[in-house]
């Protein structure tokens, strides 16, 4: 294998030039003729009954075209998983930021002014913010259910009691992973246009165009064909941009006014009504043998879903059991509870629960390694799953570069020497992770990817897919894959924006699935187009298609370079001979993943499993408590790297996000209100807080990924918090189990530590 013209080559993203020159039109830049601007009136109470809404004054304001409340919506409960949403609040509000009413006006200023004129009478209700309190009997009930429990997850294997008794070392700790915000560049946005037939076109920043369409059809009481979703370029998502009421409020306003309506969150709204990370309490107990064999794991997780479930229960489930396929645990006891609270609904954020659990597990493993007097790196290598193994949950590890990741990172970071040269305040820490490339447990209807390749008379190749490029570089990877198959340059390829009228039904971009699923889909489509081109050319050369090859923009008879025609020429002849029909290749790819068993959770959920090892080196200022990350090494098993430069970009981004989460990022919520809904006080790392990041790609060719590729999006961040926490432990001997590890916490802990000496 190898010898590719495109695959494995570092190429700048095909849309990078336009983006850096400010030419790209993002969703919030879109302008349609006659367009109105929508704004949402949000609850300022965490829990309250709506007694009365008076919007008469707002309606009378000059420039206001519509004011809508729940009365103007179908009021059917809906939701991507549990049907606990309504487009606008019906009878009561459940979090500060809940959507109460919406306004469309000739400009944003007028719309905002109108919001101030809407009078809402509320009757405040007792509210509950912490999931542990919300679980208790007698807690204020947030939805009509008996308890505030969204869902419970249980999974037991082996004989946990006996196993712990037999372990030489057992370590248990209580961890807390806090609520953090995805902080994409462009706040949530949409433009919705209702045409005279009542059909709605949604221009959306969404990671899941086809799935969103299904959810929205239900919410609006419309048949699916009445909804079209188009995905223009948009400014990042990191998991947050799935369904959101913002889009649906836009739809209602557009239906009312028969005008296109643009809705864009301001940053404050995005903090208070976005989809931040599911905060989790994690009680984790792990036991190992004297030889460092991991044997038993017991975990209890309580996650706060906020006022709507969104995907939180799937995220808690993932936190509960995904790591069991990183190491060879034999005995498991697992309990996960997802609980409603009167806070902003929480949901997907890079890592999808695995990031939360990886913090807990990898912190714990360092304590076990210490108790065993074992090198933490060796502990990971010893227990890590290898190529060809089947995990306790039936995950078939088609390729695992975990061991090589650990070795690379250890070697490149100077791990051994730095662990030995102990100096108080200076430390180095390591953490590993696994992940999926697509998650069958999440894609319940079907698993797969599809593509369409359309080649017009001029020879331009237009690639359609149903996934979603939020800036991660998916388009470029698809272009590379198609260019490789067709033997043409990237300049021949255009990747169409997703449009549910034209594009395949794609599951979308989540679970680190884009490259493997979308990539395999467009690869199959390109293959199909290639077969047709070969048939056309075979006729011209009076040979058989199998004797032809597509390379360097030419179609030639293998071994006879003089018998060749340019790609464009063959396309032109083909299109003209076929009455003008473009060459259209369609293709799909379906992996042999299975839905996990509902009870045992057994079943191979992903076609390809990426792994990683990251190492952080830190200096702790023991007088101020500030942590400086000095160096960062990240070795990732990505299968065959389609675009190494893009992968390094993903790794760097993930590490930066992880360092931010580890050390400073935190949504401060008091009585349900976010106190820091802006970038002045929601601090994230700046350029000076980021160390040099040394990325290494480990490339076992995966049997299922396109050209052997696996995903990278989420694993880039998963191990970062634990790597930093472990480095801090190495530096000052204090184990932090709650994120973020702020200077004040460090200083306080140092003082307590000294006192106890």
């Amino acid at each position: 294998m190898g010898n590719y013209s495109m695959i494995g080559h570092s190429v700048p993203q095909i849309d990078a030039r336009d983006k850096v020159r400010g030419m790209t039109e993002f969703v919030s830049d879109l302008q349609l003729p006659g367009m109105l601007y929508g704004k949402i009136l949000r609850s300022s109470y965490p829990h309250a009954r709506i007694l009365h809404i008076d919007s008469s004054k707002a309606r009378r304001l000059k420039g206001v075209k519509a004011v809508v409340t729940a009365e103007d919506t179908p009021r059917v409960p809906f939701g991507p998983r549990t049907e606990d949403w309504t487009i606008l609040a019906v009878d009561k509000v459940r979090f500060v930021g809940d959507e109460v009413a919406a306004v469309a006006a000739v400009d944003e200023e007028t719309a905002e002014e109108a919001l101030d004129l809407i009078r809402v009478e509320y009757e405040e209700l007792p509210a509950v913010f912490d999931p542990i309190e919300a679980m208790q009997p007698g807690a204020p009930l947030i939805h009509g259910k008996e308890r505030n429990i969204v869902s419970e997850f249980q999974l037991n294997k082996g004989d946990i009691e006996r196993a712990f008794q037999e372990c030489a070392v057992v370590y248990s700790a209580h961890y807390f992973t806090n609520q953090v915000y995805q902080a994409y560049l462009e706040p949530m946005a949409c433009v919705v246009q209702c045409d005279p037939s009542g059909r709605l076109t949604f221009y959306l920043a969404t990671q899941i165009p086809s799935m969103t369409r299904i959810t929205y059809a239900k919410a609006l009481g419309l048949p699916l064909e009445k909804i079209r979703v188009v995905v223009p370029p948009y400014g990042g998502a990191f998991g947050a941009k799935m369904e959101t009421n913002l889009h649906l409020a836009g739809a209602i306003l557009s239906q009312k006014t028969q005008k296109p309506v643009r809705m864009v969150n301001n940053r404050e709204e995005d903090f208070m009504a976005g989809n931040p990370r599911v905060p989790m309490y994690i009680d984790l107990k792990v036991g190992a043998s004297q030889q460092g064999k991991l044997i038993a794991k017991e975990v209890k997780i309580i996650g706060a879903s906020g006022a709507r479930a969104v995907y939180s229960m799937a995220i808690v489930a993932t936190a509960c059991y995904r790591v069991d396929s990183l190491y060879r645990f034999e005995h498991l006891r697992t309990e996960g509870v997802t609980v409603y609270t009167n806070t902003v609904p929480t949901s997907c954020f890079r890592g999808f629960g695995n990031a939360q659990m990886t913090f807990a597990l990898e912190s714990t493993l360092d304590m076990i390694a210490e108790a065993l007097k074992m090198d933490p790196a060796e502990l990971r290598i010893k227990n890590g799953l290898k190529t060809g193994e089947v995990s306790i949950h039936g995950w078939q590890i088609g390729s695992s570069g975990l061991e090589e990741c650990v070795q690379k990172a250890v070697e490149a970071s100077g791990w051994k020497r730095k662990r030995e040269e102990k100096r108080f305040g200076h430390g180095i820490g390591l953490a590993c992770c696994n992940h999926v490339s697509g998650n069958r447990a999440f894609s319940r209807e079907f698993d797969g990817g599809a593509g369409i390749v359309r080649i017009g008379r001029e020879g331009k190749v237009l690639v359609y897919h149903g996934e979603s490029d939020m800036g991660q570089g998916q388009k470029t990877v698809f272009a590379q894959i198609v260019a490789e198959e067709l033997g043409v340059g990237l300049d021949r390829i255009e990747v169409a924006q997703v449009d549910t009228d034209l594009s395949p039904f794609g599951m979308g971009s989540f679970a680190t699935r884009g490259t493997v699923f979308g990539g395999n889909g467009v690869k199959a489509a390109a293959r199909h187009a290639k077969e047709q081109l070969c048939e056309i050319a075979a006729e011209l050369f009076e040979t058989v298609p199998s004797q032809l090859e597509l390379r360097e923009g030419k179609i030639s008879v293998i071994g006879e370079p003089e018998r060749s025609l340019s790609f464009e020429k063959v396309v032109e002849i083909g299109v003209l001979r076929r009455g003008g029909a473009p060459i259209v290749g369609t293709g799909f790819w379906v992996p042999d993943t299975v839905l996990p068993d509902p009870i045992t959770k057994y079943g191979n959920i992903s076609p390809a499993y990426p792994f990683a090892c990251q190492i952080a080196e830190v200096e702790v200022d023991t007088e101020t408590g500030h942590v400086t990350v000095l160096q960062y090494t990240a070795a990732h098993d990505v299968g065959k790297a389609v675009n190494p430069m893009a992968i390094e970009g993903q790794i760097e981004g993930g590490v930066v996000q992880g360092i931010g989460w580890a050390l400073m990022e935190n949504m401060v919520v008091e009585k349900g209100k976010v106190l820091n809904p802006d970038f002045r006080d929601y601090v994230m790392p700046g350029p000076l807080d980021i160390p040099p990041i040394h990325s290494f790609l480990v490339e076992p060719v995966d049997p299922n990924g396109p050209f052997g590729a696996k995903g990278i999006g989420e694993p880039a961040l998963n191990p970062s918090t634990a790597a930093v926490a472990n480095a801090i432990y190495d530096a000052i001997g204090i184990r932090f189990t709650e994120l973020p590890i702020t200077p004040e916490k460090i200083l306080r802990a140092l003082k307590d530590h000294q006192k106890n000496k």
Binding site: E108, E109, E112, N266, E268, D621, E623, T624, H626, T628, M664, V668, L675, N676, R680, D681, V683, M684, P685, G686, P687, L688, D689, P743, E744, L747
Partner: protein
Amino acid sequence: MRLKPFEFLNPSSLEDVFELLVRYGNEAKCLAGGTDLLVQMKQRRILPKRLINLLPLSELKGIHKAEDSLRIGALTRHVDLERSAFLEKGWNLLALAATKIGSPQIRHLGTIGGNLCNASPSADTAPPLLVLHATVCLSSLKGNRQIPLEAFLTGPGQTGLREDEILKEVILPKPPEGSLFTYLKLGRRKSMDLALVSVAVLVTINPERKTFEQVRLALGSVAPTPIRARAAEKQLGGNLIGEEAIREAAETAAQECQPMTDLRATAEYRREMVKVLVERAVKQSLGFPIPPTGI
């Protein structure tokens, strides 16, 4: 949030400005770089009906050197402070602080006048100006008056500026010969943050007797205004230079400030950090090695 509508007034002379101020009183606000003002307007914390644009007024720009003083026009931007050749020797302390403000974009817009008139306890130009014994020149139809900066800063967001006045310039006397100085700022990250605690120090020493002569210390973000740490100054002035003495003075500074707890830090942490930063700042100004505060 969007800006609420307001009237934009473009005066062509200082006299025009003064007249507009008299006419509109507290309905109008002066606009310099707008990096504080427009943010506050967007957040609806203030909603002036009119903005008086100061930017075209060349009288308020530039740094002028007289024989033994420096006059810095209110519209001088932080980036101008960073780059000015006039800010040498002790005056360089101000340039040093200017480099720690916000980001390059903010430093290209934000002005020294805006920083002082906004009167945030964390204003980064204030501690250096306090130890440089700055006075401010306030100007109105009635003429000019000069007051020490220390008297000008009266509380968070509050100054001695009358409704009809503007800040015209900042005047710095010559710093003592042989001034040693530094500015340390502790934030939650290494740039683009408001100070949790900041310390400006300016000292002179007697190298033969190994004593401090003059000692001036100012603290930011730990009181309703940036303040001088006078008790700590007194403790060091005239005394032998030594690590123990410095540590004790730092302790004193920590006692004499009045920090608050807010989202960014607790009062206890701030107080503790005054101690750490004062000690480090004094040592650094003397050329002693200190750990890289880095923030």
